[in-house]
Structures are given as C-alpha cells and as structure tokens.
Symmetry: D2
Subunit: 288 residues, 4 copies
Amino acid sequence: MPTSKGKTLIEVTVVGPDRKGVVADITNFIFKSGGNIEKINQNVLRGLFGMQFEATFAEEISRKEIDFGLKQLAKKLSMEIKVHYQEPNRLQNVAIFVSKEPNCLVRLLQAKKSGRIRANIPVIIGSDATLKSIADDAGIPFYAVVHREQLKAENKILQLIEQYNIDLIVLARYMRILTPNFVWRYPNRIINIHPSLLPAFPGAYAYVQAYERGAKIIGCTAHFVTEDLDQGPIIYQESFKVSTSDTLDTIKKKGQELEAATLLDGVRLYLENKIEVYWGKVYVKEDR
Amino acid sequence: MPTSKGKTLIEVTVVGPDRKGVVADITNFIFKSGGNIEKINQNVLRGLFGMQFEATFAEEISRKEIDFGLKQLAKKLSMEIKVHYQEPNRLQNVAIFVSKEPNCLVRLLQAKKSGRIRANIPVIIGSDATLKSIADDAGIPFYAVVHREQLKAENKILQLIEQYNIDLIVLARYMRILTPNFVWRYPNRIINIHPSLLPAFPGAYAYVQAYERGAKIIGCTAHFVTEDLDQGPIIYQESFKVSTSDTLDTIKKKGQELEAATLLDGVRLYLENKIEVYWGKVYVKEDR
Amino acid sequence: MPTSKGKTLIEVTVVGPDRKGVVADITNFIFKSGGNIEKINQNVLRGLFGMQFEATFAEEISRKEIDFGLKQLAKKLSMEIKVHYQEPNRLQNVAIFVSKEPNCLVRLLQAKKSGRIRANIPVIIGSDATLKSIADDAGIPFYAVVHREQLKAENKILQLIEQYNIDLIVLARYMRILTPNFVWRYPNRIINIHPSLLPAFPGAYAYVQAYERGAKIIGCTAHFVTEDLDQGPIIYQESFKVSTSDTLDTIKKKGQELEAATLLDGVRLYLENKIEVYWGKVYVKEDR
Amino acid sequence: MPTSKGKTLIEVTVVGPDRKGVVADITNFIFKSGGNIEKINQNVLRGLFGMQFEATFAEEISRKEIDFGLKQLAKKLSMEIKVHYQEPNRLQNVAIFVSKEPNCLVRLLQAKKSGRIRANIPVIIGSDATLKSIADDAGIPFYAVVHREQLKAENKILQLIEQYNIDLIVLARYMRILTPNFVWRYPNRIINIHPSLLPAFPGAYAYVQAYERGAKIIGCTAHFVTEDLDQGPIIYQESFKVSTSDTLDTIKKKGQELEAATLLDGVRLYLENKIEVYWGKVYVKEDR
C-alpha cells in the first residue's frame, strides 16, 4: 500500500464471470497509461473471476482518464472494475457490520467518541435489527439487511457501501459469511474479529472448541478477510490464561471483552497507517 | 488417576497383535479378582491392538495374584501386559529423552538440583550423543540410542525404561516420533514440549510456520503424548507477543527459552499430582 | 456382530450426561449376569456420554432379567440404556429418512416391491413434506419432522423409531446432520449415501468440489454414520469416469442415479448379513 | 498453453530471493516488447519468489531480443529467468525420474519403443542406482543423484535438465519431494503418479491408508506437480474395485500395475497436446 515519494498509487479490483483476455486487456491499459504494476493477484472460484492489483504512476495522473478508460474496459469485458486512489491524509469512511453481540460495536463507537480512533463512521449494517438502538443513540444510520439469500443481501450491502463511499469495513461479530464476490472487491479493507488465536480453532464455536480441547491459553484475532474463511492476514492478537476456576461461561465472558479490545486495536493500527500487507502477511510498522 | 480413600487403583496396558477375545478375557479376569473397571480404552492401528484401563479394588488386593494372573493371560493371548500400581507417595522415576537442543534438559536438571521438582532422574536417553556431557556432569547415566530403524530403537529404549523402573518419560526436544507400540504402553506418562500454541502449527518447523503466517502471539505447549502426533492432552501453555523488531531468529531464541520453562511447569504439575486427565482433557486441580 | 454357535449376543447403548462410575456399574452388571464383554467403546462430546458394547452369554439368557437390570441401572445412573438382541432370522424393520431428492427413496421402494431386498419399511420420515406423495403411493406412513431446532426434531424422530421398532435407519439423501445424541443410539445401524468417493470431498457440494478440482473419476459411498461427519465405516462404493463432454449438470445427473444404486447395494449387503464391522472398518463377507 | 493462429506464445518463469519491483520490471519489459500478458501467477514461500506468466505476441518476435532483454533483467534483479517458446511440432524431450520401483519406467520405455508415445527420452535420473540396468538396456544415460541434501540434489538435477534441454519431467515413482525452487521452474511440465484417487489419501502409504480405511474403490492419479504436495492439477485417474479376497498385498500389486498404465496415459495426453490447464484444472480436449 505505501508509495515512494512523488508517486501515485492506485488499487484496482476486477470482478465478474470468468472469461479469457481480461488480464491482457487490463494490464495493457495500465501500461499504456504510464503505470507500473507492482502487485497483481487473480483467482477463480465457481466460475467467478477476481483480480486485484496495485499500480504506481511516476507523475501526477489524470483520474478522469483512468476512470474513463477502466469504465470502457468494464463494459467491453462485462466486468465490474473499481479504482481506489490512495489518499493517506483523508479521513477514512468506516462501515461497521454487526449481528446480535454489542460489545465490539459499543467499544468502537466509544473509541470514536473519545478520539482514540480517527475516522468517519457513516453507516452501521446489521444482519438483523438487534443493535439498531445503539446506532440510533450514536446518531448513525442503521440498515438491517436480513435477506436469507446471501447474494441478495450482499447486493443490497454493496449498494450501501457505494452510497456511503466506504474505505474500510469492520466486521464487529457479524455472523454471516461473505462470498468471494464481496470479499474480492475490498482486498485488505475488511477487518474481522475471530474468537481464537488463529490458525487454531477456526469456524464457529471457537470458545467451545478451545474449552473442550483443554487449551490453557485462549485469545482472539483481528484479521483481514479473504475468500478463505478465518485464514486472512493476521493484524493483531490478544490472549489470556485459563485458570482452574474457569468454566465455559467465564471463558466466553472474558473472551467477548477481549474481542472488543483486540478489534479496536486492529482497526486503530489500520487507520493510523501502521500496517503493511505483503504476500498475505501483515507487517506492523511500529509497536503500539 | 485419583482414587477414593481406601481403594486401590491399578492402571493396566495391553499391547500386541490384534486378535479376538482379548477384551473379554482381560475384563473377566479383573471382575473375578474383585475389581471395577473405571475407564477403558482400546485402539487398533495397522494390526496392532492397544488397550488401557483403570480398575479399582475395594479392599487391599494381592499384588502377587494380580501379577500372576495377568502374566498367565499375557502368555495365553500373546499380548504384553503391564500393571502400574498407584503409589502417590513414592518418589517418581523420570527418564528424560533428548536430541541436540540442551535448553530443556539443562532447565530440568537445574530444577531437580534446586529442589523445584522432586523426583529421581535415573537415566537420560539421546537420539544421538550430542548432550552426553551434560548428563555426565550431572552424574546421570546417558544412553545414545541411534538405530535408524524406529522399531529397533524403541525396543532398546523399552528395555532401558524397564531396567530403570521409569514412571514418567519427558521428551525434552526429543526429535523422533514414537510409535503407537511405544506410546500405548505409557498412557498419560509421556510429556512432550511442542514449540507452538497447539492445536495451531503442529508438526515440524512450528516457529517458521508461525512466523510466515504472521502470528502476533507465539507460544509453546507441554502435552501428553498419544498416538496422534501433537494432539495429546494439553498440560500447560505459555506465550509471548511478537514485536515489530522480531525476526525469525529472535522468535526462535525467545521460543526456546520459553520451551524450557513451559516443559518444567508441565512436569512439575504432574509430579505434584495436580493433574487429572479425563476424556483426553487435562484438568489442573489448583492454580500455580 | 456375529456370534459363535449357541451363544447369545446383545448390543447395548448407553447415552446421557457424562458422570463417573457408569462404566464400572454397567460392566459389573453384565459380568454378574454371566456375560462376556466382547467389544466396548465410549465417547464424550460436549458433556454427553455415549457407550456401546457387545456382550455374549454362553447359555440362553433371561431377557426379562437383563431388561429389568438395565432399566434399574438406567434409573440409578440417569442414563438412557437400550438393548438390542440379535435375531438374525427376523425380518428387519427399516426406516427411510428423506429430504427433497426422490431417487434413492424410489429405488429402495422398488427393490422392496420386486423382492430384491427383504425387509419391512414401516415408516418414512422427511425433513419436509416434499416426498410425502411417494410414501402415500407405497402405502407407508410418512412423517414430516420439520422442527428447526435439531434437538426437538431428533426427539420426535427417536419417538417414531421406538414406536415402529426400527432396526435400521437409511438416510436416503436426508439433508440434516444427526447429533451424537442420536447417532450413538444406533451404532452401525444408520446407513447414509454420500455423493463422493469418501474420504475425498466430504461435506456439502461434493459434486461441485469434485468438478472444480478436476477429478477424472467421480463416485459415491454408502457408509455407516458415526459422530464424525462423512467419516463412518465405508460399506460400498461405485464410480464413473468423467468424460470430456461432461458438465457439472451431467455429472450431477449421473451421480444421482449412481447414489440410488449404491445405497441400495449397501442396504442389501446389510440386510443379507454380509457385513461385519470391526474397528471402524467394514468387511464384506462375500462378493456380490 | 494453446495459441490463436499467427500468434507466438512464450512461457516465462522467474525464481529468486524475494524483492520488490520484480513484477513491475518484468511485466514492463514484456509490454514494451509488444507482448500481452495472458496469465500471470506469483508466489512467495520462505523468502523465495516465484512468478510464471504466459505472454502472446501478435507478430513474429525476435527471440534474440527477448532472450537478451530477459538476461539483462535477470542480472539486474538477481533472479533466474527462463523462457520457453511454444513449438508444438517439435518432438518433446522427456526426462524420467525414478527411485526403486521399476513398473512405471518399464512401461514408459516400452510405450516409447512401440510408438505408443512419441518423444525423446534423453536421460533418466534416479534417487539411487537401483534401476540403472533398465536404463542401460534401453541405451539411455542414467544419473544417480544421491545427495542427502535436497538443495544439492536439485542443483545437480537442474543442471542435467538444462544440459539435455528437457521439456517434460515424468516422476515415475520418484520418492523424493521437490522443493518450490525446482517446481516453480517447470509449471505444468512435471507429471507425477500418486497411488490413490486424489484428493483422497495424499502423502506416503496411500495403499495402506486406503486399505485401513476400508475403501471399496482404489485407484491412482497422474497429476502435474505444484508446490502443494499431491495437490496439483489432475490429468488422469484409473481405479479398481476391492474384492472380498483382496489383502493389502494384492491391492498393492494391482495398484502398481495400474500406476504404470495411468502414468502412461497421462504422459500420452500431454505429448499429444490434448491437455489444457486453466486455473489449476486440467481440461482434456478429446476423449481417449
């Protein structure tokens, strides 16, 4: 993500039904526009093609030209193409996704209020309406997107993300799994909190699993979301020791508090530009 | 492992080529001798049968009778049968197994010397002779069992274990994998140290894997050894946070020191009778 | 499952909240009643205890006495205990479980009608009502057990299984996962059909996975159901080669026909007493 | 791999210690030379960078210029860069790698002799000298590369591959695992035979595992080799049914014969240009 001085960096995502020639057409366009491709990544899952790349331009580029060119390419290739221009000094727009558990959401809103994190939070999206009142109290628009069909739900959400011009999505115990069609549009821009020290205990019921396995150290992980569930780059982890008197209930309770703190720390590292992702691994630039 | 007052508890292991009728013959003998079977576990892998059970006897039993009866059964069934009589007050005999890394061995010997752990250490067994001088300095017999064929090596080791009347085996970075034929003879009597927070990063190269995966918390695990590699009951875990300045080398160095401390703590919990294993999970009776 | 001549074999299942002393009390009772325990297996998952064992009695036993004794033990231990007396010559009662796909059900009913399999089919249970008309046409009672909560659904089903005195449960593309609480009551008495050559492609979407992976041979597996999803003992497998012209749709179509044939073959082997299960592996006594 | 008429297709591999700027420099060079990048793939493992791409050129290109340009880039970037020019009509040079089992090697040599496969086999490489006499009889140079250290062994082999100008490597029961440093240089140019229906039973001891698991259909798989052991694109599979009278020995014997036939079929499909690899999946263009 970082750029050398004087250069402009853009991040581009391309998503659509797989077809030949996409890589050639798009990389060609970037080169003819004077860009260098720094990183490039592609994937195909169940017929869906996804490409993400970063390109640098030596001089000031014409956004208009790039936008227009990519729009035409998108049309020609029947792909959805998005450009993200790096503007490190602009306040980021953060969308928070939630389900029923309030801890993480409450902690993030407090941190915003107290100034511990600096960002706009223009929208909160729920998989149901449970936490609407918290959003209301904070004066932030809340949308419950409850479609059972994941595709419909995600289309509605994509529209909201667009509408609120979102830079970062925070999954604050959002209990639905996002599809590649969604995830590939926001590479290293979706942060999730998982209630275990990943890669241990992925999937649902992490505390139950850790408890039944007899783990003596239990923790949680803030990580970027990729198409591989619970396997994206690890941003931040915290842990506690299980004591003799702990039960599954006390572990869950301690865990939920730790989740909120860990997610907040992960989001803060991101917003403070202290994170670099390289080959699927997060490098923290400076200790907290 | 613990018994109610006034009862005698024995642990029996049966290992040999799989054949029918073994369960019936042995459980029958225990019942006719007045015993109750409290736990029983059997397994077959690649034609090898293994059974472990615990039995309690309401009154003082005749060891001679039990020993004689099981010896006869062993002959009849072509199985190797071992009885272990629980004697909580006897000083335990501990064998330490090592390869090339000295940290864990040195720490255990220091702890024995300083009285932090109370046990006999009558023998040290190496997969090569690298650490012989440490054993020599401590005045403990050292055997390098270097056979390339695991079967031959284990037979030699089993003989030593017998000779020194060993109660507990401590794998202090012993880099060979023990077969079911060995492990089934010492259920919950072999403690290993693994350089990760299991179940994360099992197998070799745990630090490399954790480093490449970008784990932010790294640790190690003292655990009982079962036939499933790195999956036995977890006794004790310790961890540290990875900092921005850490490299693979500094992580390994921190890790190796932590291994020695964690293994020592696990062994101590065992020797102080603070551990109960129940359905593959360790319950620590009292915090340290 | 097989007995030597003149002996009586019983299969006993014990299920309930985990507590100490169960193994001792029950094995003790069997021994005092003159039985030998041939195989015994126990497990604990999420606090639920399950034990299955087979016992032989040298002479004719009094069913009344065994039943009464176990009933009293069940009460004392707060466990549910079921005995199954082996009666190889009695026509078995088979319950078929279905969801929406008709192929397997239709094939089983045809085979029953034509005499290819010999059994009673006194009840069909659906996760919804989709296939009710097929049951109606065959004159077999159909129950749609649609509870969302798996526990409620299973309790209702357990009651039906009891009421119809079922010996064998056939999952004919039943799309719900049975819990240990259910499965442990019917060891080696639940046959499932899975649309892959297990252990390849477990879980949902097996054809999609096989197709995307580029498998050149695709098949299906009739297997006994255990608490480990899609990992129970394999009874029978069939396969076909993927040809150049195959699409995901043609593969699914071929697969669904093969499922019906394979499940039928697996059920037939069971009903004809040609199967022995030993340490989690099915031995077929005689080729078909 | 296939090209549209009139176009020239090149395949390029880049391997070396990971450093920034490689992607930009190399893709830039291709574009400036008039090429289009059709597919591109990169990976980093343990600090090693690997990139493979295919580029098409609308007109006849100057090999000299491309070769010279890439050589200079290789120097500048401290990377090893190889170009492979597609020449579908040239007879391919095939190297066969072996260990101790002769079946696959013998079958391939017979097929070459009888004309069933059309290729040069200029060299056979063994992990030891066991099969040297077979190579001698066929008049083909045999090299035993026995270095214990995999890095040394692979460097020696890479040199032989270069010397004999090899297009395709066939692992005919070669029992050593190739590192990414080797594999990344020959994308979709190394064919292995694995003794199971992958993805079932990867790793060593596939027959033992299948037998112990009670698989009723057993087979083998010819597949391309990638850095993920036994997970590369599947080219061809064959299978047989396990019968009641089969033992582990008869299964191994049947399996070994099937391995030779399956590997031959896979190699033949490759040499006859009937294979296209797309997103890690092999498409066979025409049934055999």
